[in-house]
C-alpha cells in the first residue's frame, strides 16, 4: 500500500477546499439559513407538528442530507474530472499507485469535505431550532456512510463524464429531484398511498429516514432497512468503480 501517495492525494484535494474556505463555508451557511427562514419560520409556523416534532426541527436531517448528497457528488466528481480535463491525470496513471489508493485519496477527501459541511449546517441549524440528537453514534454513522457512498457515486460520475455538461447532468436532473422527493422536507405518510409506494423506490428515502431516526427516533422505514440500503448502495458503487478501474474505462486507452 502506497500510504504516502494516498496522503498526498488526500491533502492535495483538501487543499482546494481550504483555498476556497470562505466560499465553502458561506454557501451552506447562507442556504441553510434561507431554508430555515422560508420553511422553518414562514411556512413551518403554519404546518402542524409531524409525529410530535416541530416542522422547523423535522427538516434539519433532510436539509443536512440535501447538502451532503449534492456536495459529496460535486466534490468527488470534480476532483477526478478536473485532472482528466487538464491532462494532469497522466501523473496519477504513471505513478506507482493502485486504483484503490487513488480512490481512497480522492473519495476520502470528498467525504471529509462533506462531513465538515454537515457539521457547519447542523451548527447553523442549532441557531434556529433546539437541536437534540437522540442517537449521536448512529447519527454520525449514517452521516459518514452517506458521505462515503455519495462521494463514491460522484467519483463514478467524474470518471464517466467527458465534459462539464455531463458532470452536471446527473446531480441536476436525478439527484436533486430524488432528494426533494425522498422525504427530506416531509414524512411520506403525508403522501397518498400510491405515492408512498412509489417513494419506496427512491434510495434517498432510506438515507433521510435513517438519519432522521438518529435525531428524533421517528422514521418512514425501519432503521435496519435504511442501513441495508446504504451498504447496498456502497457495494454497488465500489463494484462499478472496480469494473471501471479494471477496464480502465475513460481513464486508460
Amino acid at each position: 500500500m502506497n500510504f504516502v501517495a494516498i496522503r498526498i492525494i488526500y491533502l492535495h484535494e483538501m487543499g482546494r477546499f481550504w483555498q476556497t474556505l470562505g466560499q465553502s463555508i458561506a454557501s451552506p451557511v447562507i442556504s441553510t439559513a434561507l431554508y430555515f427562514v422560508v420553511f422553518g419560520s414562514a411556512i413551518g409556523s403554519r404546518i402542524a407538528n409531524i409525529e410530535g416534532v416541530s416542522y422547523g426541527l423535522f427538516i434539519v436531517p433532510g436539509l443536512t442530507m440535501l447538502s451532503v448528497l449534492t456536495q459529496s457528488i460535486s466534490n468527488a466528481s470534480f476532483g477526478i474530472f478536473f485532472p482528466k480535463f487538464t491532462g494532469t491525470i497522466y501523473e496519477i496513471l504513471s505513478a506507482p499507485v493502485s486504483f484503490y489508493e487513488v480512490l481512497i485519496g480522492f473519495v476520502g477527501a470528498a467525504a471529509t469535505k462533506s462531513l465538515i459541511l454537515a457539521t457547519i449546517i447542523l451548527a447553523t441549524a442549532s441557531l434556529f431550532v433546539d437541536l437534540n440528537i437522540a442517537h449521536p453514534f448512529w447519527m454520525l454513522s449514517f452521516l459518514v456512510l452517506t458521505c462515503i457512498a455519495f462521494s463514491l457515486f460522484g467519483f463514478i460520475i467524474g470518471l464517466w463524464a467527458d465534459n462539464f455538461e455531463k458532470l452536471q447532468i446527473i446531480p441536476l436532473l436525478i439527484i436533486t429531484p430524488l432528494v426533494f422527493l425522498g422525504g427530506s422536507f416531509y414524512s411520506i405518510s403525508m403522501l397518498p398511498e400510491l405515492w408512498q409506494k412509489v417513494t419506496l423506490f427512491n434510495p434517498v428515502l432510506y438515507l433521510v429516514s435513517g438519519f432522521r431516526w438518529s435525531f428524533f427516533e421517528i422514521s418512514d422505514v425501519s432503521v435496519g432497512i435504511s442501513l441495508t440500503m446504504i451498504f447496498l448502495f456502497l457495494s454497488i458503487c465500489i463494484g462499478v468503480i472496480g469494473w471501471m478501474f479494471k477496464t480502465g474505462y475513460r481513464l486508460k486507452q
Binding site: 502506497n2 504516502v4 501517495a5 496522503r7 498526498i8 492525494i9 492535495h12 487543499g15 483555498q19 487538464t86 491532462g87 494532469t88 497522466y90 501523473e91 496519477i92 496513471l93 504513471s94 505513478a95 506507482p96 499507485v97 480502465g248 486508460k252 486507452q253
Partner: protein, 308 residues
C-alpha cells in the same frame, strides 16, 4: 549488461481500430540517451505511454530493470519519470507545491532539501512560490521536468521536450539532459528534430506507422544507410555515359556537362576511386569535383518515405 528496458513484440490497437504499435522490439541500455524519431502519428508517444502505464498494451511485454510493467507496476513506475508533451499542470498550484505533490505520489518521503536542490539545478528556485499559471512556457517545461525528477528516477522519458521552444531554451534543455545522463539517468526522448537527435542521443530509433524501423548508433546509421554523391563537372559535354561506367549508379545531366554518381557507403568504403579511374580511362576531361554526404535528416526522410 542487462538492458534497463526490454520491449518484446509490443502491439497496441486502440478501440477505434487504429494500430498504433506493430510488433515493436527494443532494448534500451543503462545510462544511454536514445532518441525516437518519427513523423506525427508514428507511435512514439504511444510507445512511451505504454511503458509508463498510461496506455494498456494489446499484446507483448515490457520489462523495466527485469520487472514486468503490469504485474510489477509499482517497482517499474518508481524507476520512471515522465515529462509529457503538453504543458499539463494545475494552474493554481505553486511550483514548490506541485513538485512536492509529484514526489509524494511516487511514494517518496518528503525531502525539502532535495526539492530545493532540484529547483536550483533547473533555475526554478526563485519561482518556487509562484503559481504555475504565472510562468512562461519555458518555465512550465522546467516545472514538468522537476516533477518528473522529484522522486529521483533511474529512467526519464521526455516526450518532445523542445517542441515549440526557442533556440536558447532548447540548448538549455540539451544541457539538462546531458547533466542527467552524466549522473547515470537513462534518457528516452521523442523528437521531430533530427538536429536534436544528432546532438544529444547515443542511439537513434526511427518510427513510422507504428513500426520501429531501426535503432542504431548515429555513426552506424550514417555508415550503413548514408550515401555520398559525387558530382563530376566535365570540360566538354558528352552525349552518353561511357560504357565502362554503366555498371555504376551514374546519371548524366541534361546539358551533358555533369556526371552524377550516387554512391552507397558500405563498411565505410565507396567505389568513388574506381569511378574516377574509369572516367580518366574513358578520355573525359574533368573540370571540377564535388562530394556531398547525406545527413541523418536525409536518411530519416528516405526511410520514412520508403515505408509510407
Amino acid at each position: 549488461m542487462n538492458p534497463i528496458i526490454s520491449i518484446k513484440d509490443l502491439n497496441k490497437i486502440y478501440a477505434t481500430g487504429f494500430n498504433a504499435l506493430k510488433n515493436v522490439n527494443l532494448e534500451i541500455n543503462r545510462g544511454e540517451i536514445i532518441a525516437l524519431l518519427g513523423p506525427n502519428g508514428a507511435g512514439k508517444t504511444t510507445l512511451i505511454s505504454t511503458i509508463c502505464g498510461i496506455v494498456s498494451p494489446t499484446s507483448g511485454t515490457v520489462h523495466v530493470d527485469g520487472f514486468d510493467i503490469i504485474s510489477d507496476f509499482r517497482k517499474t513506475r518508481e524507476m520512471i519519470g515522465l515529462v509529457p508533451q503538453e504543458l499539463t499542470l494545475g494552474a493554481f498550484e505553486t511550483v514548490w507545491g506541485t513538485v512536492r505533490f509529484s514526489r509524494g505520489l511516487f511514494g517518496s518521503k518528503r525531502d525539502d532539501d532535495y526539492i530545493e536542490k532540484l529547483l536550483k539545478d533547473l533555475s526554478l528556485f526563485d519561482k518556487k512560490d509562484s503559481e504555475v499559471r504565472a510562468l512562461s512556457g519555458g518555465m512550465k517545461r522546467r516545472v514538468l521536468i522537476a516533477k518528473a525528477l522529484s522522486h529521483q528516477p533511474k529512467i526519464l522519458f521526455l516526450d518532445e521536450p523542445t517542441a515549440g521552444v526557442d533556440v536558447e531554451l532548447r540548448k538549455d534543455m540539451w544541457k539538462i539532459i546531458h547533466d542527467l545522463s552524466s549522473k547515470g539517468v537513462t534518457i528516452i526522448l521523442t523528437t521531430h528534430y533530427i538536429e536534436e537527435a544528432e546532438e544529444i542521443a547515443n542511439r537513434v530509433g526511427v518510427m513510422n506507422n507504428g513500426e520501429l524501423l531501426l535503432v542504431e548508433g548515429k555513426d552506424q546509421i550514417m555508415e550503413n544507410l548514408g550515401k555520398k554523391q559525387l558530382v563530376i563537372e566535365l570540360k566538354e559535354s558528352t552525349k552518353k555515359i561511357p560504357s565502362s561506367l554503366e555498371k555504376y549508379n551514374i546519371e548524366l545531366s541534361q546539358n551533358g556537362l555533369q556526371l552524377i554518381y550516387n554512391s552507397e557507403i558500405k563498411d565505410g568504403e565507396t567505389d568513388i576511386s574506381n569511378v574516377l579511374i574509369e572516367i580518366t580511362n574513358s578520355g573525359l576531361l574533368v573540370k571540377d569535383l564535388k562530394i556531398e554526404k547525406s545527413s541523418l535528416e536525409d536518411i530519416f526522410v528516405d526511410l520514412v518515405r520508403v515505408e509510407s
